[in-house]
Structures are given as C-alpha cells and as structure tokens.
C-alpha cells in the first residue's frame, strides 16, 4: 500500500467512527437541544471531517462538510435552534457523507456527485428567522460561548481516556498464542520432575501463563453500550417513518461482557427494537384513546443477573397477542392445536420463537439478512445464553436476554462413569492408557488397596473415579481398564473411568450455586445432545491420589514389565534400611502412641473392625531402644505402622522408625525356613536393604512372643 492508500484507509476508519458518534449525538441532542458539550463535540466532528477532506483533495465532500459545519456552528452559537426537520436534515447529511466514504473505499476517489440538493437544504435552515436566536444573541452579546474543555470527540469521555483501540484479530491472535503456550508448557512439564532444579521455575511459569490467559480474556470485555448506541437512531428513524412518537431509554450501558457476546447481541437487539416500534407500539391517536401517553417508551435495561448479564428490551405498547402467536404456530405446523391447549401461558407465548412464527406481516431484514425471532434465539443460545418474552395485552412487552459475561471455550474430553457423562479438560490430560484384563505387561500394581500404573518408568497412583464420586461399584470386571493420565498441580495420576468419549470444544458455564461447594467440579457445559455435563476439577482428584501414596513414588530400578521384578516398601529402623514385599502390605498408618494398648502380654491396637498385634521391629530385631526416650514414648508421639497380611496367621502391625518409598526391585527369593526376621539382602536405591520375612513376623505376632 502506498502512502496515499494508507492515509485514505486511516481517514475512512476515523470518519466511520466519527459519523457513528454524530448519529448518536444528534439523536441525543434532540432530547437535550442546548447541551453545550454535545453541540461543541458535534461541531468539532464535522470540522475534522472537513479538514481532512481538504487535505486529501476530496473537494465535493469538503464543500458538503463545510455546509454542514456552517449549520452546526450556527447551532452551537445559538443562532438557530434544533427542531425535528433540522435534525432529520443533519442525519441525512451524515448518511450522505457515509455514501461518499463508501465510494472512496470502493474506488479511491469521491466520485462526481456535488450534493447540491443537500447543500441548499442545509443553507435553507440557516436562513430561517428564529425568535430564540434573537434572544440568545442578546444574552451572549454576540460572543461565542466559551469552549469548555471536553474529552476528544469519539466516545464517552471516561472510556476514551483509559482505553486503546485494538484490532480484534490481534486479540484473537493473542488468545491463540496463549493456547499454544499452555500446550508447550504441558509438554515441558512432562520432563520436569519434582526434585529437578527447574521445578520451581516451572511452577512460576505455570502461574504466569494462567494469569496471562485470564488477562487476555479480560481484554476482550466491552460495555454493552457498544451494542445499544446505534439503537437510538434506529428507533428515531422507524418512528419518524411510521409517524409514531417513540423515545428510547437506555439503562446500565456500562455492564461489560466479552466482545464476542457483544457481536452476538447486536443484530438481535436491533431486531427486537425494530419489532417493538413496528408492531408493539400504537399510533399516537390510538394511545390517547386507551389513556396512554402519546409518546411511547422503549426501554433497554442491562443488569447483572442470573450469574451473567441480562438485557431487557421493553415497550409500553399493545402487547403480544398470544392467541395470534398460537394460531400462527398451529397454521405453520409447529405445534398441534391439542398440544397448544395443554401448554402453559409462558410456553404459548414462547412459540413466538419458533421458526416463521413472528407475527410480523413482512419479514424484517437486519443488515440485509432475513432475521426472525428463531434466529434471534438461536444466536443467543449459541453463546450459552437464552431469551424469553413476557407480555401483557394493552400494557406492553418485554424481551429478556440472558448471556454469560465471558465466552470461555475449553478443549475437553468426554468420559463415562456408571452411566454419567463427565467432562475432563484436555489441557490436564497427558495420555489415555488402556490395560486389558489379563494385563500381560504387568502395568497395574497394588500395595494393599492402593493401585498403581507403571508409566514411563514411574509408578502413578490410580484414582477410581466411581469411588471418588461415591457411585456404585462395578457390577462386573471390565474387559479393559481405561485410565486417563492426568497431570495437575505438579502431580500426575491415573483416573480410572468406564469409558473415554470424544474430544470436543466445551463452552464453559459456571457451576450452579448449589454445587459450588463440591470440590470435584470446576464448571458445567452442555453436550451436543443438549444434556448438561459436569466438568471435573482435576486438582481435587490429585489430592485423592496423594492419599494413596505416602510419598511420591520413586523411579523404578528395574525395567518396567520384567517378569522378575517386585514391588517393595522400604522402612528404616535404628538407621538401617529394611524392605517389606508390597504384596503383603494391607495399608500404612500413622497413629499416636496412646492408641496402643496392652493385652495378653503384647501390644495391641484397635484398628477399624479388628484388634491387631503390634510388632515393634526395633525390639523384634534386637536393636537397642531408641536413644533419648528410655524406652518409653510419650502418649502423643506418633508411631509409623505397616499393617501386614498374615496369610496363615492373623493380620498384624509392624511399627518402624520411618516409612520410606515404594521401589521396584529384582524378584525376591521366597523365604523357606522362616527362622529369622531377615530373609535376604538386596540393594535398593543404592542402599543395602534387608528384606524382612513377613511370615516370621506374623508367627511372632500370633504367638505373642516378646516383640
């Protein structure tokens, strides 16, 4: 683009904005004819257009703008007064200027039109004698009223001062980049372990990228007035065309919603307002007859309600004839007469939103497209909103639009759990693993009731979604165990589900208030079928996963899936390392010393429904009592217990100094003689570890041998 083209493009863009503002200001001025701020702004806008035209050598347009400027100067100075015809002329002037700009946009030149008619019309207004102007001249003694310092022309002053115009495409690009950043961060996270020196920096990166996402979403917020501003002119134009008297009131224009939602609201609002003036509002004579003010009012009211934004378009016209709506719906085959008779009043009037039913005699076109009430409803529902209509015959009609404040779209994966279809955010999912029932590669492992998945050399704790959600346990063992590997809050775990569905883009809706206290849900969405679905809060399940492993599982010493590998739990007693085969462990527990009681010459513990003998490993191994305690532990000191399966003997608990980690080691030789507490020695995590003979310990616990 050469310099000229760039200049013209900038001129067109700025003028477009200025003309929109002129529209708004002129209509507002009609209601407040002597508002000096408005008058000043309107004059300056036309002055700017005139100046730029001269610079770009659009002489016809310059002349036209000059004529307009003269009239506006006269208005500003009070030499002429604003009346209906003058406003109409000025608005038509704005349209004419727009027409020329369109020509410039298309051809690069202003065309040949000389606008003589409009110019003489404008001059005609200047020539009008006016009593007011004489009075005004006396008051101001011929001086121009002082120019008050006001915000630059363009938009509402407060918004303009603190905002910046940004191309929507740039914002969209920014949003896409943030999405890419999230994915890249996830991939990076796969390679960063908790104890890596990079983990701190990575956590910071996660926090920052989430903040960035939030900020970008907020950048897209705009006040609803952006959608309601041009409605003023539309109301004025239609009312004038149909010789009706209508005024428009806008409340709450500063409610902010996402730009995408503003775009969705534009056309429906125009349609509803047109509808109100066209069909709802009666002619002044008719209104007087029924005792109404001849001037009708259309009210646009924006508020925050229902967890989102609500925009109401109300009129005080004749109301919707529900019978007409029903008749038309039946005639169009939308509903049978019987069905209609069984409907509630609100359902019947809701038929107004069915395709083709709008009682408009002619199809109303908005922006050149045929738009009916059904399109209005569909457009609004697509962004997760809704629209209803309420009407009272003879009193008026209110259309109520509800929309969310933000449009949040989340890439998601559907999962099934006992017939409930739930949604998992894709950004949290690392992989989907399917383990067949026979588990030939030995990918699943258990320690007591805790289950683990071998995944890339680590052991991931498994969380049973059905159990966490307190749903019924599986009726039959499934052919395949479906596991969704999730990474959240720097914890990776596997979520066992019944089935994994498609991935889809979920429009995120807020969690309804009654469910806001349930930690397992992050929000809701509506599936393609129309059924609502809960979005899982993956961090809640990460906490459940942490419960099943006392410490993060260590890396496997031996390759995954080898036949001769075994899981062990390491413990420490008297500074020596011991190991217990994981298969013999029921669970781990930390209790206070005072829960251990004395019975039959042995220490026992009441644990859930049974009484377990407590074997103090230190004593069983003949190691000296722990220094500094004199053998007596205080009542609230804690004991670390490993509760073991006795097999041929009852279950029992082993108290140790410290519980260590879960490791994979080479297969252990089965103990044969059970004569000693230690069966063999192995090396686990670079430490010499003595493997305990659980049966020897069990026998000792059962016979009450001094332990």
């Amino acid at each position: 683009m050469n310099v000229d083209d760039e200049l013209i493009a900038a001129f067109l863009e700025e003028s477009e904005e200025n003309l929109n503002q002129l529209d708004l200001d002129l209509v507002t001025l009609e209601a407040n004819p002597s508002d000096p701020e408005l008058l000043g702004r309107i004059f300056r806008t036309m002055h700017t257009i005139k100046g730029t035209c001269g610079f770009l050598a659009f002489s016809n347009l310059e002349t036209l703008a000059h004529a307009g400027e003269d009239v506006l100067a006269a208005l500003r100075d009070g030499r002429i007064a604003l009346d209906g015809p003058l406003t109409t002329t000025l608005l038509r002037l704005v349209d004419d200027v727009r027409g020329v700009l369109a020509t410039v946009a298309a051809t690069g030149t202003e065309g040949n039109a000389e606008h003589t008619e409009m110019i003489s019309e404008l001059r005609g207004h200047l020539a009008k004698p006016d009593a007011r102007s004489a009075q005004h001249q006396t008051e101001t003694a011929g001086d121009r009223p002082p120019e008050k310092p006001t915000a630059p022309s363009g938009s509402h002053p407060s918004w303009e001062d603190t905002t910046l115009k940004v191309d929507l495409a740039v914002l969209d690009g920014l949003q896409e980049l943030v999405g890419e950043l999230t994915l890249a961060r996830m991939r990076l996270g796969d390679h960063i372990d908790d104890d890596s020196p990079l983990s701190g920096a990575f956590r910071r990166l996660t926090v920052i990228s989430r903040d960035l996402q939030d900020t970008v979403m907020r950048a897209r917020l705009q006040p609803i007035s952006t959608a309601t501003d041009r409605l003023r002119r539309i109301v004025r134009d239609i009312a004038a065309a149909e010789t009706k008297a209508v005024r428009i009131v806008v409340e709450g224009g500063d409610v902010t919603v996402d730009k995408a939602i503003i775009e969705v609201l534009r056309d429906p609002l125009v349609h509803l307002v047109r509808n109100a003036v066209d069909h709802g509002i009666e002619l002044p004579a008719e209104r007087i007859q029924v005792g109404k003010d001849p001037e009708a009012t259309v009210t646009i009211r924006a508020t925050l309600a229902g967890g989102g934004a609500q925009v109401e378009v109300s009129d005080d016209g004749r109301g919707v004839s529900v019978q007409d709506v029903v008749n038309r719906a039946v005639a169009l085959g939308q509903v049978t007469a019987t069905e209609a008779s069984e409907m509630s009043e609100s359902e019947r009037i809701g038929l107004l939103f069915s395709a083709g039913v709008s009682t408009a005699a002619a199809v109303t076109t908005v922006s050149g497209r045929g738009v009916g009430m059904d399109a209005v409803r569909t457009a609004i529902e697509q962004v997760g909103g809704g629209v209803t209509v309420h009407s009272e015959s003879g009193v008026g009609t209110t259309f109520r639009i509800n929309v969310p404040l933000k449009l949040a779209i989340l890439p998601a994966i559907a999962v099934d759990c006992r017939g409930v279809r739930l949604t998992v955010p894709q950004t949290d999912v690392v992989a989907i693993v399917r383990v067949p029932r026979e588990d030939p590669d030995r990918r699943l492992a258990s320690i007591g009731s805790a289950r683990f998945l071998r995944y890339h050399g680590t052991l991931l704790p498994l969380v049973d979604l059905a159990a966490e959600l307190e749903l019924a346990s599986a009726p039959t063992a499934s052919a395949v165990t479906e596991i969704v590997v999730v990474s959240k809050l720097d914890r990776t775990y596997g979520l066992i589900v019944d089935g994994v569905g498609d991935d889809f883009d979920a429009v995120v809706k807020p969690l309804p208030r009654p469910l806001q206290g349930v930690a397992h849900y992050a929000g809701t969405t509506v599936l393609a079928s129309g059924r609502p679905s809960l979005i899982l809060e993956t961090s809640a399940f990460a906490i459940a996963a942490a419960r099943s492993a006392p410490t993060p599982p260590a890396t496997a010493d031996v390759g995954v899936g080898q036949e001769d590998s075994e899981l062990v739990l390491t413990v420490e007693v008297a500074d020596e390392h011991f190991a217990l085969p994981a298969a013999r462990i029921r669970r781990l527990a930390h209790i206070t010393r005072d829960r251990v009681e004395r019975s039959g010459g042995a220490d026992v513990l009441q644990y859930h429904d049974s009484v377990l003998t407590v074997v103090h490993l230190r004593q069983a191994l003949g190691r000296p009592a722990s220094p500094g305690t004199g053998g007596n532990l205080a009542a609230d000191d804690s004991l670390a217990l490993v509760i073991c399966r006795g097999d041929t003997h009852p279950d029992f608990a082993v108290s140790v100094d410290q519980i260590g980690d879960i490791h994979i080691t080479a297969a252990l030789q089965p103990a044969t003689a059970h004569l000693a507490p230690v069966a063999q020695q192995v090396v686990v995590a670079d430490a010499v570890t003595q493997v305990l003979d659980v049966d020897w310990l069990a026998t000792g616990a059962a016979t009450g041998r001094d332990a």
Binding site: S344, G384, K509, G517, V526
Partner: protein, 148 residues
C-alpha cells in the same frame, strides 16, 4: 403485610405451598434431570435451561418427605433468588392466589416437622386451605458462601 400480594402456588405431598409471583421466572413440565454425583442434600440433578445449566433442588427432599413415585417426569419452578436462577422440583402446580392486604402471615403450627418449618416464611389462612409460604432464602441461602 401492607400491600396485597400475589403468590404462585404448588403442592408437595399434599402440602400447599406458595412463592411470590415476582420471584417465579417460569414453570417447566415433563423435565428430566442429569444425575449429579456427590450432590449436596436436596440437589437431585442438572437441567439445561436454554443454554444455562441449573442444579435442581427437590423440595420433597429438603422437607424430608418420602421420595416421589415417578422420578422421570418432573415439574420444575424456575425462580430467581439473589440475582441467580434456581430450579425447584415440586409435585404439581396450583392456582395463582391473591393474599389480601390486611391478612397476617402466621408462624407455622408447632406440630410442623422441623425440616419443613425451617423452609417456610410462614402460613396464611386461605379459603382453599392453609397456604405455606416458602422462603427462597432458607432454601437457597444454605449454598451461599461456599468455596469450591
């Protein structure tokens, strides 16, 4: 009660209940709900109201009455409380009733079970019977101030 009030009414296990008409957004028939695991007391499912997802509260459950026979097809009142829409499952709709300006709102009789009494603003005597006015604050206020 200075002014006359208009109530939308419904029944739950033959208890005649009412809510101020101004708080009622609409009434849905034949509604089915999606199950909600880990639902708090009284919350019986999710519904999709023109794109907005609501969690439905069953008045029967909150009143600790026996469960309904047919949980399939439900009657739901959509009401507005504290600027948020809520869904309330009831048994059957009743007429719209005008409470005269001079009538007084009485306390629920002492024989009323506690679970029901806490949910009422009070009762009014009406020609068709005793009308229990339900308190939306008591029903939905319990969910306020929760953290996820």
């Amino acid at each position: 009660m200075a002014a006359e009030r208009i109530l939308a009414t419904f029944t739950v296990e033959r208890i005649w209940c009412g809510i101020e008409v101004a708080q009622v957004q609409e009434v849905l028939h034949g509604q089915t709900l999606e199950p909600v695991p880990l639902a708090p007391r009284g919350v019986v499912g999710l519904l999709n109201l023109r794109g907005q997802v609501l969690a439905a509260t069953d008045l029967r459950a909150r009143m600790e009455l026996p469960p309904r026979d047919d949980p399939g097809s439900l009657m739901v009142f959509i009401v507005q409380h504290a600027r948020v829409f809520e869904a309330l499952v009831v048994d059957a709709p009743g007429p719209v009733v005008t409470i005269p300006a001079d009538s007084t709102l009485l306390a629920a009789p002492p024989t009323t079970p506690e679970a029901i009494a806490v949910l009422l603003r009070g009762v009014s005597e009406h020609s068709d019977g005793l009308l229990c006015e339900v308190s939306l604050q008591a029903l939905f206020g319990v969910f306020d101030g929760q953290t996820g």
